[in-house]
């Protein structure tokens, strides 16, 4: 991969520039090969700022040392959360869980680029993005532990709940973005999806709508190479996912998704572009899902260990740590303290999750609509009857008949 310069302006220019190059390339050839446009004409130059050995082409000036350390902290917290979640699941203390190991740069780096009033529209595998966004780990444990109250903990009102259906959430992002613009707010939306999600119809409808309406949104594809057992090559015949943006009339960018600087840089530039009214961007983060798809999956059935080992060497946490050590902003002592902090924090949240009193079953009825319908009131009373609980005197009179 080519190593690019490291300022925001430059990144912005590069990311936008790549589209310009593509356009002019297509145009110049179109006269000759009007009916034979090949994929090679839509090549995308991948963006990498931080090499695997932790070096860069120059000093990274886009972020302050404090911001870089903060990013690293979120990555470490996310990994500690992830490890704990996997253990809890194996012990039967958490439901089926989807690990984010290996994708921390892509998630933390992109969420870190958001301003408070920007919206985050997560996919289902977005625990690290949500942690970076301020969602308490307790809430995430609760959600994966089968308790909907987990999503009520969303600290920031501008983060949607995790979306289990694939790619459908991208359209919500477009709607949020159009509403931002309608209300005259100069903010933007970041919507995540996986490589598998790019095969869904809603992916294309979302990109098409965003392109037509120039919605202030950034679509971020985490291309982690596998959609359960289906490899990226069987997901799409396109050479890159980034180039799909061209069909919808906006820029596509491919970044090294394990390079947090590249992710942050590309997403920052794209969000800035969206906020300025210049429309959407598609960013493909090339990364890897180190763990199984979820705890219900066994990735050994469909992928080989050599492939996994090669990607483990590209670990996004190691890479940033190496950089920080080289820049003398980090040392073994700081690392130890951070690991301790992460372990303590995760334990506290696990405890808090497990000590939370059980939900009131009334919530099931109460949150279906803004207020309970006669049918729900009746069914709730029936639930109380059958479980030997006292009827709710406040709503008893409203119910006619009985639910057997």
């Amino acid at each position: 991969m080519k190593v690019k310069k490291v300022t925001l302006k430059k990144i912005s220019k590069d990311t936008l520039g790549s589209a310009k190059r593509l356009r002019s390339k297509s145009r110049s050839r179109s006269a000759k090969t009007r009916y034979e446009i090949s994929q090679e004409q839509f090549t995308i130059t991948p963006l990498q700022l931080l090499r695997e050995d932790g070096t860069t082409a120059g000093k990274f000036t886009l972020l302050s040392a404090e911001q870089i350390k903060s990013m690293y902290r979120f990555m470490v917290l996310s990994r500690a959360f992830d490890d704990a979640a996997l253990k809890l699941q194996r012990q039967g203390r958490l439901g089926t869980y989807g690990s984010v190991r290996g994708q921390e740069a892509s998630q933390v780096g992109s969420a870190f680029a958001l301003q408070k009033e920007d919206w985050l529209v997560p996919s289902f595998r977005e625990n690290a993005s949500c942690i970076t966004r301020g969602m308490p780990m307790k809430g995430l444990f609760q959600y994966w532990g089968g308790d909907e109250r987990g999503h009520a903990y969303t600290e920031s009102m501008t983060t949607l709940p995790l979306s289990i259906p694939i790619a459908t959430q991208l359209l919500h992002g477009v709607g949020l973005a159009l509403a931002l613009r309608y209300k005259g707010q100069k903010n933007a939306v970041l919507a995540h999806v996986g490589d598998g999600g790019t095969s869904e119809g809603d992916f294309h409808e979302a990109l098409n709508f965003a392109g037509v309406f120039k919605a202030p949104i950034v679509f971020l594809v985490q291309n982690n190479q596998w959609a359960i057992s289906v490899p990226r090559k069987k997901q799409t015949a396109a050479t890159t996912i980034a180039q799909k943006a061209i069909a919808y009339g906006f820029t596509g960018v491919q970044v090294d998704g394990n390079d947090i600087f590249a992710v942050y840089g590309a997403v920052s530039a794209a969000l800035e572009k969206a906020r300025s009214g210049a429309g959407p961007t598609l960013i493909e983060c090339v990364t890897y899902r180190i763990s199984d798809h979820t705890t219900a999956d066994d990735a050994k059935r469909y992928r080989n260990q050599e492939e996994v080992d090669a990607w483990v060497k590209k670990d996004p946490l190691d890479r940033l740590k190496k950089y920080m050590l080289q820049q003398k902003m980090w040392d073994a002592k700081k690392e130890e303290l951070l690991q301790q902090e992460a372990a303590t924090l995760v334990s506290a949240h696990v405890r808090s999750y497990e000590e939370e009193p059980a939900s009131d079953p009334k919530d099931m009825f109460a949150f279906t609509f803004a207020s309970m319908t006669p049918q729900l009131l009746e069914q709730y009373q029936s639930f109380l009857d059958v479980s030997g609980k006292k009827r709710d005197p406040n709503i008893l009179e409203k119910v006619e008949g009985g639910f057997p």
Partner: protein, 325 residues
Amino acid sequence: MAIMTLLEAIRSALDYELGRDPNVLVFGEDVGFNGGVFRVTEGLQKKYGEKRVFDTPLAESAIVGISIGMSINGLKPIGEIQFDGFTYPAFDQLISHASRMRTRSRGKFNCPLVVRAPYAGGVHAPEHHSESPEVFYAHVPGLKVVVPSTPADAKGLLLSAIRDPDPVIFFEPKKLYRTAKGEVPDGDYTVPIGKARLVKEGKDMSIITWGVMVSVCEEAARQLAQTGVDVEIIDLRTIAPYDVATVLATAQKTGRVMIVHEAPRTCGFSTEIAAQISEKALYYLKAPILRVTGYDTLMPLYKMENFYLPNIEKILFTAKKLMEH
């Protein structure tokens, strides 16, 4: 009070609410410049501008999907799906997200959106243009389903739907767009969601129905009156949540119940109504509950639709059987 068609009444509700609430947006395929394929939204873009009333690409899932995002972010989107049968591509967004956002987020987010779609048959339209899919949506917890049958109700129910805090599917009986005429109250006029309308009082038997079938049942009732049968007609108006109290009251009063709808019979909404009556008013009944519905076939193309649809003949035939008990 002005005399309006059902179509004009819907337009007047949209106009009123666009004028009242700057967060209301109206959009869909052809709804802007062309005023919709039925001209329901004619003139609204000219009056409110392209920012408020606009055309979208042809993508039903997207129309509902962006409505979800807009409604979460404080707007009141009214998306139009061009025909009943084209709500199916948007089914996933409705059942996977619009209906669940409140529960999923424990009340933190909700989707107060309206999806409008012309509904039901009888206008000689192509395939997928004449369907009655109300029960699909009525089965989904978290969605409200409304079907007006008079111009006044169309206005009153639509204003309620737009102001409702939950997602509402608003099915507009397309056969009645220009044929149903009536007085429509001026200004701010609402009809509550979830309350049935007593169309006609009667003592011998009850017909429970909605949409286009209300007027068909009214004509059947006039003919039955000539044979000495006094029919009570209930227009359900809202399929989800529906007015069980009124259904039970009429069943208890007349002891004979017929349910009439255009959708196929098996698992049609009549099934739920009949079950409720049998659970709670069985001993008031003098006869089995009978149904006049579409058949368990696809809605046929228009040369056969008159065989498929409930009509006066079928209603009279069934009424006779009901009265024999």
